[in-house]
Structure formats: structure tokens, C-alpha cells
Symmetry: C2
Amino acid sequence: MAELYVVGIGPGNAENLTGAARAALEKASLLCGYTVYADLLRPMYPEKEYYTTGMTGEIERCRRCLERAAAGETVALVCSGDAGVYGMAGPVLALKPEYPGVSVTVIPGVTAALSGGALLGAPLGHDFCVISLSDRLTDWALIEKRLRLAAQGDFAICLYNPASRHRQDYLQRACDILLTEKGGDTVCGLVRQVGREGESWQILDLKTLRDTRADMFTTVFIGSSQTLEIGGRMVTPRGYRV
Amino acid sequence: MAELYVVGIGPGNAENLTGAARAALEKASLLCGYTVYADLLRPMYPEKEYYTTGMTGEIERCRRCLERAAAGETVALVCSGDAGVYGMAGPVLALKPEYPGVSVTVIPGVTAALSGGALLGAPLGHDFCVISLSDRLTDWALIEKRLRLAAQGDFAICLYNPASRHRQDYLQRACDILLTEKGGDTVCGLVRQVGREGESWQILDLKTLRDTRADMFTTVFIGSSQTLEIGGRMVTPRGYRV
């Protein structure tokens, strides 16, 4: 049976791989992925064949994986974080009907909302929204609308892709929208390079976050009105009486 | 150093444990948790001491862990799914200032939104909200408000705790709110007992979901307007042209 595993590898360090992810990577003869993430695996699996593409080669990468699996190989397509959350499981499953002989298994992984959240404390301890600020595939108007509604619902919010070279002011624009609904002293957190060299995190308020520079390896957390800084950690309580 | 690990163990099967979770469980001499989840670990770690409490014993459990850690033991407090998402990392960090000698490390895990999502396909492939329907600690009015705003924002939605013995009609009530904003043919999914005996999943539309019975081991997924059923899987596209 031709097998394609779409594997969430977590933030990229060996410790955050699940057993199921590890088993799929071991079974596969070909590992595919975005160059940066595939490179995280090379030291662990130096003997495998690799096929990597850059940032905009997602669909080409998915097709290549399906083709190689259809030809009888066991293939793993790796995604940072989870396989489904802004990951490749979606496009692979959308293309799969063209490759009826291929069996696709999605292996979940620790997405940045969770790995980054654990460093900060428990910022997503109650209802939350995950929103990507990238407008490469989504209209900015829809992103703005979601930010506003998430703030009105007093959700904790986790922002993916808060900035890139071409979108340096997007986090500031997002904060300006949130500030129309939320206080400037809302507890926020910022995590960089989770599980990788240069890992760092900080807790700051929303008005300070507005003027902070993020990059594509940053994940941002915006508290609800209930979120607290306790002992240097960011905590969104669920409501237990402690 | 007195160490307390708050460990997300994923859905409960060994395959979805991360390496970091496994390492923390191995280091600990005492494993604490809600009875059902701790029991999932006993076959893997039969030699450990266990301290378990029932459904409403959360704070007692957190205090006991902090006390035992303060006394010099290495303790692991296990949470199903992730340690932070509706988990024990929040209350532990809220209590921690009373136990200044204890070091708390939060170990993230694969929460049900991800493990259930992987079974269904990629229901959370674009911006999403996670909402718990339990009103044990949250006003139902706030839950309703969040459901309505999440629907207005056309987020994909993942519902935790959709029902329990005392809240048999909550999923129906939630669907009725969503149906005021979304079409009855919205693609939805339902996952039961992920990674455990009796694991099952199904894809159904929102009007059918409304009349479907859930229990406390069910996780529910509501698609956005873009969500599709493709080849028997649930996919919320990010917008790639495939």
C-alpha cells in the first residue's frame, strides 16, 4: 500500500516529537518539507532522502509527495507544529482524489500555540482563537474582522505569522484593532524560536506589544480580560477558586 | 531543586506522548492526575506512586503536587491533551507563589483539537476558535456570546466538553446559536475517544449535528463557510490553489 504521512513535528526539537511522528519518519524513505523544517530533521535522520522546497512551493511539494507515494514509496511530508493547523494536511487531502491508490495518514503535532504557551505559562487556559496575520492567502479585511470579533468575545488570542520582511507593520496594525476593544494593560506574551537555538519569551502589555518588532519565527499571545501575570508567567484562568 | 512538571499527555495513547512528556514522567516519582487519565499511564509506568482525584478535585490535586514537590520530590501532574488548554498549568501557576521553592515546568501536549482534527482530516487548517461548552466555571451567557461571535467571524470552531450527564442538551443549544449565523449544510465533524479503545469519527452537517448525542469524551468540529468534505475527510482550506 502506498503510504503518505503528513507529520506535525512540533516546534522542531527532538523532545517535542510524538512517538507516532517519530515512527512515521522512521518508516518513510523520503522526507519532504519546507527547507527550514526539513533541515531540523537531517541531524536525526541523516540516511534519508530529502525533497525540500521554499516558502511558496507548498503545492508542488504536496504533489511530489503524492506522486512518489503513488509510485509505491513510503513518504513523510513534515510540517512544523501541527500537520493541520496552517499545515499541509489540507492541501494534501484536497489533491488526494487524483491519487486514489495513496493512503494518507495525518499525524498531529504540538503547534506553536501550545509550545509557545507552555513557555509563557498557561495563556490559553480558557477559550481562545488562533489567527494568522499573513495576508498571502487571506484578505486583510477578513483578518481585521476576526481580530475585532475575537476581542469582542474576550477570547485569549494567539497570533501566527505576526510579521515577515514584507509585512513589518502587521502586528502593529493588529494591535491597533485590538486596542479599540481591549485595554492597553491587557497581559500579552511573545515567544521566539520555540525549541530552537535562540529561544526566548517575554511578557508585556498590549500597548507595549504594539510597538514591539516581531518576525516570522515569533508567536504572539494576547490575553483575555481575565489574564494575569503571576510570578512572571502568563496565566488565563479557567475560573477555579484557588 | 524541587521540580513539578505539568505534563500534557495527549489523547492518552503512548504514541501521542512527546519525548519531553515521556522524560518528565520517567523522572517523576509521583504521578498525579484525574483518575481516568492517570489510569491511562499505569500500564506504561506500573512502578510509580499515583495520586488521583475525581472530576472536581482539581485544586486539591494541584496543591498536593506543589506540597510534595516542595518536600523535595519530583512530581508530574498529568493532563489529558495539552497542559495549558483547559488544563492544570493555570491553577498550578496561580498557586505557585505560595511554594517559592518549587520550580514548575509546563510540558505541552497534543490537545483534542489537534488529535481529533487529524482523524477527521484538516478541519482547523485556517483560523479557528476553541470553546468549551462546560458552564461549571463559565457563565452560559459568555459561552453563547463567544459561539455567536466565532460564527460571525467565520472561524472554524472546535467545541470541548460538548455534553455531560448533567448537560445533555448543550450541544443542541450551541448548534441552535450557530444556525442563526451559519448554514445547516456547514460541514462538521465529531470525534470520540481519540487514541483510546472505541475511537470513532464521523462527518456530518450542522443541522444533523444539532440532533446528535455527544458525551464528555466527544470533541466537535464546526467548519467555516469554506470547509469541504473531500474524499470522506473534513478540510478547511487555507486558500492554496490546488
